[in-house]
Symmetry: C2
């Protein structure tokens, strides 16, 4: 007899009917002879509605009160989910975050879990009960309700799986798994049967938030096997675990991409040693995230720095830099918008030095100019014109053998 943790997100429990369907997944697992812990999010648009009400009262709601408010969302779901299980004769008990022993640091809105007190849940599982726990929320040592921020319910599920040594943590969502690339753009995209934690982290933005990176990191640290699968379809999903593939398996496992990228160039830096920290401290202070950074020497030993940002941050970025032009000590600031980033991801490329070269070759062969490049041990990213994005993804998907029948088999 094993222990399975099943996590259902907001869309998977968006109505009473969907809760009933989700409950059937838990019942099926229970009837196989496994112990089951269910972790749920707030129903559908509940959180948005609560945020809206708070917004009608005040422009800057206190985070403590927002945690108090939003944590009601999952509490509604756990009780309804438990009722759905009991209606089928399954012994079930619902727990809020504080009842489930999810202890967090004393931070509101984005708390990290510091401890899980598992006595209560262990006792219930031993008594044959299905435990239905509220995701996304916890309690401080002082008895204050906290929430875990974005991806919080995924993190709750993984943390419970880790603390109770579950055999698997299943993340039910509205897609059937993790794909080689986004099937909404590339028809030949195929579902992967397995990926490693690291690959999953790099592919995180495929399929619009299938699994929060924070939860993947948690799972990696504690060695929790994950499965991303559909709450509507019965088919197996994608397993996420340690990388244990054979040499012959695919070097590139997936292709991630995003548009709305802008390149900012700060040109004519007189003193690049001090300019570099000056620029990025300014951006950090203004909470502007920077992705790729490239430094180059141009005319008369004056340096230039280019970096990529998300296009919605363009106006603020330029304003911050222009205001501090003197402190930075540069001649001019330029921006190039309408760019996209395409990344090939695969743990196997660590030992395959030719992968980046092949990528540039493929892009060049399609007449696509690469404007910026960034590499990590398991990823190569290229910034290109956004009009070329889908073409680049399709070409790379095919060139690296991802469109074939064999994908993900090993």
């Amino acid at each position: 007899m094993g222990l399975i943790v099943q996590k259902f997100g907001g869309t998977s429990v968006g109505s009473v009917e969907k809760i009933r369907n989700a409950a059937e997944r838990a019942i099926a697992e229970k009837r196989k002879g496994n112990n089951v812990i269910v972790v749920v999010s707030a129903m559908g648009k509940t959180t948005d509605k609560l945020v809206e009400m708070a917004g009608d009262l005040t422009a800057a709601p206190a985070k403590r009160e927002m945690d108090m408010l939003l944590s009601t969302g999952e509490q509604v779901t756990i009780s309804l989910f438990a009722l759905a299980l009991k209606q089928h004769g399954i012994e079930a008990v619902s727990y809020t975050g504080w009842q489930a022993g999810i202890v967090t640091e004393a931070v509101h809105g984005n708390a990290r879990i510091i401890e899980i007190r598992t006595e209560k849940i262990s006792r219930d599982l031993a008594a044959g009960k299905v435990v239905v726990a509220a995701g996304f929320q916890g309690i401080t040592e002082q008895g204050e309700i906290t929430t875990l921020g974005r991806g919080g319910s995924d993190t709750t599920a993984v943390a419970l799986a880790a603390a109770l040594h579950a055999d698997k943590c299943e993340i039910f969502t509205d897609v059937t798994g993790v794909f080689t690339t986004d099937p909404r753009y590339v028809k030949s995209a195929r579902k992967l049967l397995s990926v490693s934690y690291d690959e999953m982290l790099e592919l995180a933005n495929l399929g619009a938030g299938v699994l929060h990176p924070r939860a993947v990191e948690y799972a990696k640290n504690y060695g929790v096997p994950l499965e991303v699968r559909s709450s509507m379809e019965q088919e197996a999903g994608t397993m996420i675990g340690e990388d244990n593939r054979m040499e012959q398996s695919l070097v590139v496992r997936g292709i991630a991409f995003e548009d709305q990228i802008t390149r900012i160039s700060v040109i004519g830096l007189e003193d690049s040693i001090n300019s570099l920290p000056a620029i990025f401290s300014l951006l950090a202070e203004n909470h502007i995230n920077v992705d790729i950074i490239i430094q180059s020497r141009t005319e008369r030993n004056h340096a230039a720095i280019s970096f990529s940002i998300k296009s919605p941050n363009l106006e603020e970025t330029l304003s911050v830099l222009e205001k501090n032009k003197e402190a930075i000590g540069c001649r001019s600031i330029e921006a190039e918008t309408s760019l996209a980033k395409v990344s090939i991801v695969g743990a196997g490329m660590i030992s395959n030095p030719g992968v980046a070269a092949k990528m540039f070759e493929v892009l060049a062969g399609s007449g696509i100019m690469v404007k910026m490049v960034s590499t990590s041990e398991i990823k190569v990213s290229a910034v290109i014109d956004d009009t070329n994005m889908v073409k680049a993804v399709e070409t790379l998907h095919s060139a690296f053998g991802l469109s074939e029948q064999s994908v993900g088999q090993h």
Copy 2:
């Protein structure tokens, strides 16, 4: 500096706008220099919606899970209320039932408060904060969420007021106070400036649940001064406290009434000693509430028993009695429907033996036949045809001097 507990019911916090208005009442009290505890119910129809969702999942929802579900209602209100206070620069903190230290017995759906752990709230009040507590809910010693059943938020408010020795517990509602009779029926009905706890208990059904009898009893036991007042109007409400009126004050303080009364007569009882317990045990087992009971001897020493019930219980009552006719040992069972009960209420009537006589005289003078009578130390009730109900109330209201300017002044 005093301590005021303010309780706002579901209609008084039915929208963000209404929460903002209610918050202004708390702010006004705080700015007078008082400490303030606010107790709130779930917003408007929230509870109904939650009950409906549970009903869609199962016909017999587990009470533990219903408590888990329904307690989210007040949790939403406390956080929004605290945000509304903070928006005005008032230091405020919201607490769920368990955070407020409301410990109840281990019963779901209708728990009684057994203890209030006031350390946290006392500390917050001392620090100048307004405490916003969730009504209707508590926690067992085992950490299970409970609810207090009907009138629960009133009870929470009174219990907090008692535990923290508040100077007053204000119950804000959608009427301006307790009236001599229901102003929807009798135009000359007047607001009472004060009534005693006992009178309030007897007048409880005036104005459709202004204040739950359970909360009144709690207030009486702990000597908590109550004020029932409007959440919309600024005028003073009705004070409820110990009876401390002078001899010359009004004997009758109010007139309560209700229709939908049915009289059941069990006739020709052979053995009335055993029939009496047999009948009422049967009814109690079937959860049928009986109000007035009259036993009489009729022909040939056979006894008859009449009692009044609410008309919606008629069918079930007859069915229970007919099924057990032999055990009861009676000849026939009769029912008279379309009756009403009119009661005159006043603590002063204990020392005024002529009050009942005057009531019957007044009714007889209006040609209204009395079918059943019941008396207590502070109340006389008469059952009459429901077509005469409003006429009876109006006539009695005038005859006992309730329509005059002086009402409630003492």
